[in-house]
Symmetry: C2
Subunit: 275 residues, 2 copies
């Protein structure tokens, strides 16, 4: 399988694409470009959706709103960072903003300026041309760029995990019925939805959740994002478990507010068995 994901070589997205068994990996510089490529060429894409420490990846969430794509698989990658460099007196740190957030404690202790980069790979490259600096990168990247480790596993939380989703071109809004009926026995676990209520009133969110409560459907995640229409109006990203009468709930919800159905999907297991 050919997968387009976030490069350059050595990103966690690249690592995840390798693990899930891509035969050919196309690396592009931004998450927006992953979505654009998926829609344009029909290739499968892989993007980070949320991290257990840093939260939702906003560019992925915004692209899920914007592009006609379907989520076809989720996968989880344990994330470990290290501090790498050659100097005993670190003058500055190169870090991607997400890596910064995941390692904020050690960065606060070091108390030197942090320069944000576009990717972990870019942090490694910046470190190489700045001998007084250190980079927050994976051990894999440190080894690839031959940068000595100063300290390993510097993430705030030892259980630091990123959740990725695999995306395919095409809206699945019209496919709820089909997906629901045909694939229920093929290991589908979750369904992702975007609700765009286009109104703001007391009890709105409660009403949106009522169909799930009534059918006892478990909501595994809810995240709000600005609607980008005006301040104080939001859209909601919901992940639900495909159990019991979940389809009834979704059908009822559709009568309350416009939804974008992002698809039903299973979880890639191998990584979890090995780790």
């Amino acid at each position: 399988m050919k997968i387009v994901t976030l490069g350059p070589e050595g990103t966690f997205s690249h690592e995840m694409a390798t693990l899930i068994g891509a035969d050919e990996i196309v690396l592009v510089p931004t998450i927006g470009k992953v979505f654009a490529e998926v829609v344009k060429t029909g290739t499968t894409g892989l993007v980070p959706l949320e991290n257990s420490e840093a939260g939702g990846v906003t560019s992925t969430l915004d692209c899920l709103m914007q592009y006609p794509v379907t989520i076809t698989l989720e996968s989880y990658l344990p994330i470990h960072h290290c501090l790498a460099g050659t100097s005993e007196q670190i003058t500055r740190i190169y870090a991607h903003p997400q890596s910064h957030e995941q390692c904020s404690r050690i960065i606060e202790d070091l108390n030197v300026p942090v320069i944000h980069t576009e990717s972990n790979a870019a942090s490694a490259i910046a470190q190489k041309s700045d001998p007084g600096s250190a980079a927050i990168i994976s051990e894999r990247l440190a080894s690839r760029h031959q940068i000595p480790l100063i300290r390993s596993n510097i993430e705030n939380n030892a259980c630091n995990i990123t959740r990725f989703v695999q995306i395919s071109p095409g809206n699945s809004s019209q496919g709820l019925q089909a997906t629901g009926e045909k694939k229920m026995d093929q290991g589908l676990e979750k369904c992702s939805l975007i609700i765009d209520p286009d109104e703001n009133r007391a009890g709105l969110l409660y009403d949106l959740l009522t169909p799930f409560k009534r059918e006892g459907v478990n909501l595994t995640r809810i995240e709000s994002r600005p609607s980008k229409r005006s301040m104080g109006t939001y859209v909601f990203f919901l992940d639900i478990q495909c159990e019991g009468n979940w389809k009834t709930s979704v059908t009822e919800l559709q009568q309350i507010a416009p939804i974008k159905h992002l698809g039903c999907y299973g979880r890639w297991q191998k990584q979890m068995e090995n780790s």
Copy 2:
């Protein structure tokens, strides 16, 4: 009034602090340091909480979880960005990640590499020493650093607004009664809460919202953040309107899940009247 906020000079936080009438402004390099300074010295702080395009400011949300502070005021600042530089052939763009997100459309059109910086002021400084580049900054910063404007109002959305909150040291958890009774007539409009359910079950969020639905209390915002305990567990930031029986709802909610009460506060009006 003395206010500590995010520097360096020329940030939107600095502008907001000036507008709300600070006599003395202390500028620190990160949002975390604003909170630390507020708690350590007892000074009032000012931090950005959310933007209408880019969403919640995660460092502020995480610090609100972590530090014993109370929100005492909210204020809104219309945000306009410009593209500033000297070259006709732009080779790269310096931008703060939030400014990048707010101006993503023009950046995509320009199709040149983006270098992320720690603040808008840092983008201006970086541009000055890199003649082929452009910076995404406010007109105020461009003028301060004498960088020619290439294009004004480049934000994706003309109604681009950032919501700031003023913070004071001290938990307000114990002060719900006092705040609610004493100050209801003094223009308090909103109350902010963090709910940390420490469990994950079908219908949980619905149950958390039930007290508000029952009393007809308007929820103006809900945002989830990782609990940082494990993947898939979240805390919820809620803003409610201080109307009707909102105190009954909060008291009921306290019986369902642990909450951190961030305080009740009014809205700074002058800016909105002038704009």
